[in-house]
Symmetry: C2
Subunit: 198 residues, 2 copies
């Protein structure tokens, strides 16, 4: 479960509420009418928010649609920070993601699959996600400095690749309980992938 500590002030709670309303309306609205073919104004009218305030909360139309993805990686980095770093790094990355998945709440498991479907049929969104992934990877590398640069970077790339593979297999059904097993399987296949013959 995500620890959702309420901010003290009313002002911040209000702002957070519109942020959530925007993110929530985004996945449903874009899901119904398609990301590319839904003007941003439709979302703004839906939530009754001016364009100006929208762009104070989110950097772009893509940004708001990918809220669930960002939340996941935020939690992941958080988990990684609180992890004892010893042993094989690949195991650390994997188990950190498994605990991350346990921490996500029910509402996230509703919104995340919707987001994945949006990504699947909008190249613009896909590009944005990949770019965000790259930033997260750089952030992970930064927190594990002192390692061999090349190998560390490679391993991080490999892990994220495995994660995306697992998501692709998860996408059709999106049964929450299935995802950890798929990720485990993808990670377990990494070694044999390298020696794949043809």
């Amino acid at each position: 479960m995500t620890t959702s500590e309420q901010p003290a002030t009313l002002r911040e709670r209000k702002k957070l509420r519109t942020r959530q309303a925007l993110a929530d309306a985004a996945v449903t609205l874009f899901g119904e009418r398609g990301f590319d073919s839904t003007p941003l104004d439709a979302l703004l009218e839906d939530v009754e928010v001016s364009r100006r305030t929208f762009f104070r909360n989110y950097r772009s139309k893509e940004d708001v649609a990918l809220t669930a993805v960002k939340q996941l990686w935020d939690v992941y980095l958080d988990v990684l920070d609180g992890t004892e770093k010893s042993g094989p790094l690949a195991d650390i990355f994997l188990s950190a993601m498994l605990t991350t998945l346990e921490r996500m709440d029910e509402d996230w498991y509703r919104r995340f699959p919707l987001t994945l479907r949006l990504i699947a049929d909008s190249p613009a969104l896909d590009g944005h996600t990949l770019r965000h992934c790259a930033e997260v990877q750089a952030e992970i590398a930064r927190r594990l400095d002192g390692q061999d640069r090349l190998e560390l970077r490679l391993l991080i790339e490999f892990f994220v690749a495995a994660w995306r593979c697992a998501l692709d297999e998860w996408l059709p059904e999106c049964t929450p309980g299935e995802l950890p097993a798929l990720l485990r399987r993808a990670c377990a296949s990494m070694n044999s992938a390298l020696t794949l013959q043809v």
Copy 2:
């Protein structure tokens, strides 16, 4: 060297010439003034082409800036098609890229580093490149169907990741002769990356 067979008709040669002029002016102009801060109109005035015709040749501003990248992968897919597929797939992917690098001509080795620098300081371009990479990966997978899906997909991801790592190390200097060695090294490090300890 890239086989640049001239199209027969004058019309097609003319069109090709404006395409090249656009791509060439793009890397230099964006390189001087920055991708995000250079309006597309500046490029159009430079090449003396209307917006309408530009968009008949390229799908977006990002598209024209990434011409060199696309050319590389086009050649790569071509090389891969003409390769005898037997032995370890990882070796096949690697040597296909090495021959690809040999096939690229001098002008490409001038434009490609410029393009990499554009990508490095424009998130929008980076996202676009990553998206394009993903399409190429899907294309590679399609041409090697019949393999185990998960492991094949993983290996392709790994290879492209190694390629990007090599590029990152190559970026500061961009000595053409260095790139193959960097790529070899990255590929050679894949195994030990998986067993990285901390």
